[in-house]
């Protein structure tokens, strides 16, 4: 290992998992360092939850090694599990326990010393905004509050690694915002791995993305890295105020070298939409604008389309197996 690099908080080393004859994960490797929030992305059934469960110590992988802060999960499961806080996909908590009672139960199981227990639990409750709900039954809480209790139990014993499996599903927009803010705050001094199929969430929270499909890693890297990898073509949209200028505009555009797939995308309210593709290196917009102005065509809008995470993700899914990695 390079001395200058801090050891990874999470290291997944060639993990495979089989149930019966079904291979849920094949040779998955990645690592996450402290201070990173990594998005774990994939369609339903891609193996996200399986990976999260292996990571959290729910079951061992069929082959491969999991290292949590340098501790081998298979050799020292207790020590490794203590370093992890896990929020499962379906936050299922004992409905007949009170919030404070439950968190104390978790703290005892995670080995928080008895004399620190009271303060520790209070601290986590205040962080998750649960101080006023301590004596309510978990079964009577709203979904958002239950999610907070789930997050609080993951935080008990201050694990340096957090594993969050779809933390915002089923919440209303305000609750989603609150939970995201909590996660962002937590990611500053921890390693957080966040599984989700909500793409904007990843764009908002994560510093890095790992994409997984059919049990294999499709791609991993930061969002711009992934985008640049796919962007061998770039789309430009033009909106022209007057429909009668359409033919002239098209003629100008065909004369510019480097423009391909030129077409009229649609007409509405007397306006025309034209779209075409260029190679990403050259920005043709200033040149097009200049030519249009010279010809007296009134240009309402010219837009270079950024690839969204959806495009990137679908692109990788379509491109298939080839694994791309970035340093």
């Amino acid at each position: 290992m390079d001395v200058s690099n801090p050891p990874s908080s999470i290291k997944f080393d060639n993990i495979s998992k089989e149930y019966g004859g079904f291979r849920a994960l094949r040779d998955v490797s990645f690592d996450v360092k402290e201070g990173e929030i990594v998005g774990f992305l994939g369609p339903n059934g891609a193996g996200k939850t399986t990976a999260m469960r292996i990571l959290s110590g729910f079951f061992p992988p069929t082959s491969g090694r999991v290292l949590i802060c340098g501790i081998d999960m298979s050799q020292h499961p207790h020590k490794a599990k203590r370093a992890i806080g896990y929020l499962p996909e379906m936050v299922s908590l004992y409905p007949d326990m009170k919030v404070i009672e439950y968190l104390r139960f978790v703290a005892r199981l995670k080995g928080v010393p008895a004399h620190e227990l009271q303060g520790h639990v209070r601290n986590k409750m205040s962080f998750c905004g649960l101080l006023n709900s301590g004596h309510r039954l978990i079964g009577r809480l709203s979904k958002g509050y239950r999610q907070r209790v789930g997050l609080a139990q993951a935080l008990v014993a201050d694990p340096p690694v957090l594993v969050l499996d779809e933390p915002t599903t089923g919440l209303d927009p305000t609750q989603i915002k609150e939970i995201r803010e909590l996660i962002r705050a937590l990611g500053q001094n921890r390693a957080v791995i966040l599984s989700t199929h909500i793409l904007p969430e990843v764009a908002m929270l994560c510093s890095r993305v790992i994409m997984i499909n059919q049990g294999q890693i499709l791609a991993s890297g930061t969002l711009p890295e992934l985008a640049s990898c796919l962007k061998d073509r770039e789309a430009i949209h033009i909106r022209i105020k007057d429909r009668r200028d359409q033919d002239r505009a098209l003629r100008i555009l065909t004369s510019i070298p480097g423009i391909e797939a030129l077409r009229v995308a649609g007409e509405a309210g007397g306006e025309t939409f034209i779209s075409f593709e260029t190679s990403p290196g050259q920005d043709l917009r200033p040149r097009i604008m200049k030519l249009f102005v010279e010809q007296g065509i009134s240009l309402a809008e010219i837009q270079r389309l950024q690839l969204s995470l959806e495009d990137i993700f679908l692109g990788f899914l379509k491109n298939g197996k080839s694994e791309r990695r970035f340093p």
């Binding site: 019966g20 207790h78 203590r82 908590l93 409905p95 978790v106 005892r108 995670k110």
Partner: protein, 258 residues
Amino acid sequence: MRKILTIAQKEFTSCFHSWLGVLMAAFFFLASGIFFVILVLGYSKISMNPQQYGLSNFSGLNQTQYIFGSFFSNLSIMLLFLVPTLTMRSFAEEKRQETLELLFTYPLSDFEIVAGKQLGISLLFGALLLPFSGYLAVFHWIGGEFDWGPVWLGFFGFCLLGISYLAAGVFISSLTKSPVVSALGTFGVLLLFWIFDWVDNVATGSWVRVFSELSPLAHYKNFTLGILDAQDMVFFFFFFLYFLFLTLRSIETRNWKS
């Protein structure tokens, strides 16, 4: 050990969170109370006129044996209903609510989880037996004479039988996601063990001995008669360990089952 106790405590208190636990306790007290009263009344009736019941002299009938011996052997039938309700929630409910998943991700071994649950339920069972001391007080108050040895032995045997049955119930609970299926399954298995006890009444042959040796009730009978035999204790010990082991194997299946 602290973790085992934590789980045991949770298991113990969670029973009082539901009406089912309270109802079951009330039902158990009521039924055992009725057994006790009927036996005491029956004994006093015989004591009025022993000849009528084919007894030449009354002193031949031992009070402790008649009342507590029969009391404990009747109670073993109560276990058929009590044990399934005590154990049905242990794993099945956690599986249904998917709370087990989180438990497995805490720094706990499978053994600590199973042992904690077993301990909690056994303590709960023990708590249900506490009012029995009240029967002793009543018996003393109405002028009964104790033979302490057989009473304690009957009590001890009943605890062993109960805890062994609970281990079987916890195992069956670990097989299913539904507490109702768990309760019915446990009831069925306990019924089967009860039937083992009859086999030597209805059949002959050397194979019959296998059933009567495997029957928990046959081993329990010795305790109610005031006989302490190491064989019986060893039987219950292994009966308990066997189901504890099966439970551990059963929750390990998460490693390879989808």
